[in-house]
């Protein structure tokens, strides 16, 4: 049986063959297995050199200073480190945080936990297209606001927030700005230096790099520089901000993936924009298909649509042998909550549940798109007939 067409690149991407080859080299070459913290011998120093090279690659890909890169195990950790790190370090300066309802769980969950511990959190509601108005941030800022956390590209709907405008407001007010940019690299322009964010979360596996490695960019351009309480300590790695033996092959993989993304993202994005258009044209022709998220401010890699008159779990069951996509019903059990992101955009429960997220990527081609359109056309019609809708 033919494997399903993979259209879930926003969940994860296959590792680029060049990245995998480089990782394998590092994993197997006896010169590079040392612990980069071992400065008492060449094995350790060779590993440290590789890590510093990768740090430059990642920094260059996002216009950061290599010294601003703190390696982590992924964007989940980066988000937690940013939020906990600022909250704890500046606990005596203030305990108010501002974020948005459409943020990733790795931002929302730490915020909820901080609320339980006495912090206060404002969850801004985006407009129906998923965008925040920077004026909302301005209005929400209080004397005790220490942190604003707003994502760059939303992982469900692809909507891009105006980070530069938000950063200007935060700087003026003296609050730190954290940006979850896990979905940005390789999909749109990203300039850490220019955008004005103080902290930025990155992940390798969304950009054809390995799972289990990411970074938190910690700006050095503001004075005084931002400080963080570490999430994990003991060993002093990463300037005390993130202890733990660095995984050389992982970090090298992230560096290679980011370097490739920096080279190819523009061409990728143009090609993928055409695929996305083709997909949307095909799907909207089915009728009763609603697009989620403001199409004027989204990355081309994501298309999120709701299908009227079909039930979410059945929709997924009907198509999953042919296409691999993500659904608005996070889990397919009866207790599934429909996507909180779509709910925040004002979609009702049914339309939130009957949504599919198409994540296009480097491997996607026209044939994939046409296959997706054809199975959806067939199955949406069939389910609507069965549902009498």
């Amino acid at each position: 049986m033919k494997p399903p067409v993979y259209l879930d690149h926003a969940a994860t991407t296959p590792v680029d063959a060049r990245v995998a080859a480089r990782m394998t080299e590092v994993l197997t070459d006896p010169r590079w297995f040392g612990n980069s913290a071992s400065d008492s011998h060449d094995y350790g120093e060779a590993a440290a050199t590789l890590i510093e090279q990768a740090r430059v690659q990642v920094a260059n890909a996002v216009q950061a200073d290599p010294r601003e890169v703190v390696w982590t195990s992924g964007a989940t950790e980066s988000n937690n480190l940013a939020i906990w790190g600022v909250a704890q370090y500046y606990r005596d300066r203030g305990r108010h945080i501002i974020t948005a309802r459409t943020e990733h769980k790795a931002v929302l969950d730490p915020c909820r936990e901080l609320e339980r511990r006495g912090w206060s959190v404002t969850y801004l509601a985006p407009d129906r297209g998923g965008r925040l108005d920077p004026a909302q941030i301005k209005a929400a800022l209080r004397a005790d606001s220490v942190l604003v956390s707003v994502m760059h590209v939303n992982n469900e709907i692809g909507v891009i927030q105006d980070i530069a405008a938000i950063a200007a407001i935060c700087t003026q007010h003296g609050a730190w700005l954290h940006v979850d940019a896990a979905q940005s690299v390789g999909k749109c322009a990203l300039d850490f230096a220019a955008c004005g964010a103080d902290l930025m979360s990155l992940s390798a596996h969304k950009v054809y790099g390995p799972k289990g490695v990411g970074a938190l960019l910690v700006s050095r351009s503001r004075a005084p520089t931002i400080q963080l309480a570490p999430l994990q300590s003991g060993g002093g790695q990463e300037g005390g901000m993130r202890a733990g033996t660095l995984a050389t092959h992982q970090v090298v993989g992230m560096g290679a993936a980011f370097e490739l993304a920096a080279v190819s993202w523009r061409a990728d994005a143009e090609r993928i924009a055409q695929l996305q258009q083709r997909l949307w044209r095909g799907l909207s022709a089915i009728g009763g298909v609603l697009r989620n998220g403001d199409p004027l401010h989204t990355v081309p890699h994501l298309l999120n649509v709701s299908f009227e008159g079909v039930e979410g779990e059945s929709l997924l069951a009907a198509v999953r042998s042919e296409i691999a996509v993500s659904t608005g019903s996070a889990c397919t059990s009866a207790t599934a909550e429909p996507s909180y992101v779509l709910r925040a955009l004002g979609r009702d429960e049914r339309l939130s549940e009957s949504s599919l997220r198409f994540g296009l990527g480097r491997t996607s081609c026209e044939a994939d798109i046409d296959a997706a359109i054809s199975v959806l056309e067939r199955e949406v019609r069939r389910l609507r007939r069965i549902a009498g809708t």
Binding site: G309, V310, S314, A317, T332, S333, A334, I386, A387, G388
Partner: protein, 134 residues
């Protein structure tokens, strides 16, 4: 979610999805709540001559409704389903959290059959729940 072979088969084929003219109809649930089921049954003397279903819901709901419609044809009229909701849950390996959905299927079935049975005696052609034009 993994579905049993049987669930998959009935969900995919969905034989007897649709409506019937001159049939007794029963429905339960609400699409807005995520599950809605409707049965149309045509009767012939004291037996089910034909049955159709419509369903908005999860694969288990669709499969059970499809199975009920299919296997009921030729069976004598009775309000209850041929198998209890609990038995159907086992037959289709439905997770226990979804029992409520099977009860909606049952309600729809009983509504259709009750309409048929209650109106069967005096004048089957004018009973409540009678579909004039489907």
């Amino acid at each position: 979610m993994k579905y049993s072979e049987l669930t998959r088969r009935y969900f995919e084929s969905a034989t007897r999805a649709g409506t019937l003219p001159d049939a007794f109809r029963g429905a339960a649930g609400q699409r807005e709540q995520g599950t809605w089921v409707q049965f149309d049954v045509q009767i012939n003397a004291a037996a089910i001559a034909d049955a159709r279903f419509l369903a908005f819901g999860c694969p288990h709901t669709l499969a059970v409704a499809a199975w009920l419609a299919e296997t009921s044809v030729g069976t004598p009229l009775r309000r209850d389903m041929a198998e209890s909701a609990a038995a159907l849950r086992e037959r289709f390996a439905v997770p226990v959290e979804k029992l409520g959905r099977l009860l909606i299927v049952e309600d729809a079935w009983r509504a259709a059959l009750s309409a048929a049975i209650d109106s069967a005696a005096p004048d089957p052609m004018s009973g409540e729940g009678r579909v004039k034009d489907a």
